[in-house]
């Protein structure tokens, strides 16, 4: 090998390594709508000289169906914990081993080794939340820490209560309300669930997602909802309170995974590492208004979130929280039938 080829080869090798380290290029993120902080993205773009494109989806099922068809061009997706095992099982994501990344030390211990992704081989926590009951205390002053607000609506709230039509969340809540276990195949429990739902429905005004605006405008006086949404409602109207139902409430988390078909794997890994940094995690929270799993992020959190009851679960309510799981297809089938019966 003469020295000319040598230098050329070395030059190429050098280019290749710097290319990896600087990761110039693109990153295509596929995430829930209105969920990704533009500021944090700008910071990431500036730091790594990467152009980020964000595409929205509106449900776990949409995202799963689309990615399964392939050829999407996305590098990153953010499925909920119930769906992460499916993405892994169907071979849609790649093992990026976030557990060994530099910033992983910041992940809170209770989130470092979750059931849905043991050892965090695929996913990085994006946001955490709960599903509870929101009540406008101008309309109803009684105790509201119960699913009874939804399933046995007090007179003051009759015809003013909304239910967010997320099938799995609603049936989870109804099972808790009648005293069952999630994903149960106990027919007597499921029958009680159906009867409870069907009997409760005439007291509801609507089954809508658009709660932030409607609670704010007073069209709804109570609703089932996610905690981040409840926080936004309280900031608009201080009379609106979020409650953790004593019968048990659902916990969820959304997690960043890298797709198997990703073209910009290195950038995607950089992104996974980037959002485990406390300051960046706090930046994400400041936008989507949910908690994150990164220790040390509290000091960067916006003031109105630091001890917001929607974000920081009160000690007394901690024990009732339970992670929602993905039920077996047969059970899911029964859920769908109950749901159709409810909305017929």
């Amino acid at each position: 090998m003469n020295w000319k080829t040598m230098t050329a080869a070395m030059g190429l090798a050098l280019l290749a390594t710097t290319g990896l380290a600087r990761a110039d290029g693109e990153l295509n993120i596929y995430n829930w709508g209105n969920y990704t902080s533009p500021d944090v993205i700008k910071k990431f773009e500036a730091k790594y000289n990467v152009k980020v494109t964000i595409t929205d989806y509106d449900s776990n099922d949409t995202a799963l169906a689309k990615v399964r068809q392939g050829g999407t061009g996305f590098d990153i997706a953010v499925p909920s914990q119930t769906y992460v095992p499916i993405w892994i099982k169907e071979g849609l994501v790649q093992e990026t081993d976030p557990g060994k990344m530099e910033n992983f030390k910041n992940v809170a211990p209770e989130w470092a080794n979750p059931d849905f992704d043991p050892g965090r081989k695929y996913s990085v926590p994006w946001a955490l939340g709960t599903v509870g009951v929101v009540v406008n205390t101008d309309a109803y002053k009684g105790p509201a820490d119960s699913w009874g607000i939804i399933f046995n609506t007090p007179d003051e709230l009759k015809g003013k209560t909304n239910v967010v039509p997320e099938m799995n969340d609603v049936i989870f809540a109804a099972i808790k309300y009648v005293g069952g276990q999630q994903c149960t195949d106990d027919k007597t429990v499921l029958k009680k669930v159906r009867d409870t739902l069907v009997a409760a429905k005439p007291n509801w005004i609507a089954m809508e997602y658009n709660t932030i605006e409607k609670m704010g405008a007073g069209d709804f006086k109570a609703t089932s909802d996610w905690n981040g949404s409840a926080l936004r409602q309280r900031l608009a109207n201080p009379a609106i309170h979020y409650n953790y139902p004593k019968e048990g409430y659902g916990l969820w988390s959304d997690n960043v995974v890298v797709l198997k078909e990703a073209k910009n794997v290195e950038n995607a890994k950089l992104f996974q590492n980037f959002i485990m940094d406390p300051e960046n995690a706090a930046g994400l929270s400041a936008f989507h208004r949910y908690a994150n799993a990164i220790t040390g992020s509290d000091k960067y959190m916006p003031a109105d979130m630091k001890d917001a009851p929607e974000v920081v679960i009160p000690e007394a309510a901690k024990a009732q929280g339970e992670f929602q799981k993905m039920c077996a297809p047969e059970i899911q089938d029964i859920y769908t039938k109950i749901w159709t019966e409810l909305q017929k």
Partner: protein
Amino acid sequence: MATAEEVAKAAERRDVRDRWLLSAPALLVIFLAATGPLLIVLIYSFLTPGPYGDVKWQFSPDAWLSVFMERDIFDDTLSLAAAHVTIFWRSIKLAVVTTIATLTLGFPTAYFMATRSEKTRDLWLFLITIPFWTNLLIRTFAVLQIIRNEGIINTILIKLGIVSTPVQILYTDTAILIGMAYVYLPLMVLPIYASMEKLDFRLVEAGYDLYATRFKVLRKIIFPLVKPGVIAGSILVFIPALGAYVTPSVLGGGKNMMLSNLIELQFGQGRNWPLGSALSITVMIIVMVALLAYVRNAGKSGVRHG
């Protein structure tokens, strides 16, 4: 030696062949674009649902069975799928009522437009088409702003002292009907106007000269002559109204499913793509049957009047 006749025949054959060849690309596109996706839907409706959405390539008639029959989840008996029938019926009823409402409002509107002077007609036509400039969703939200509890109607009613608490219009069937009638009205007005414009109003005058009452003129002269427009308008309104998704969800509050919601459920949280496909095809069949019945009926009575 070929006779002149044979030459002519050969030329004709060549002509026919050339025509087919020339139109082949267009036919292929029409065939693929129109029937290709439908064929996939049809095939999917005979497959087994995958555990988390999608389908397994395994024949199963279950989807079609469960369109109208259901196995009770609690006592395992097979019975009529009451929930599905209720939802189908609700959608059909809404589509029919919407068609009638738009016809009732659209017919006089079209008559009014057609009887203006030629210059102003264009202006009216222009006004009718304005709503099409905005997206359906935005128009629906505009209706929501008008009828909601803090909306224009309720504010005026309260200010005038007619009611003390807001009238709940939003999230009722009335709200859905108001929205649907508003959204689909232009689709009814335009075809009726098109045939009304061609109407020879001398016939109307002749009718009056022969001592026909106003109602008789309308029934015996105007209506039969603009019937093609009425039929076209009704079809244009009925079909999209049957599959309406946005308007019932936004104004009805999503408590009661429409056909479109039921189908969406199967492709989303329900994870039963074959059932979703079977339901979609069922809707197509309903539309086809309704159209055939309507057109045949209309055709028959048209002959009688003619």
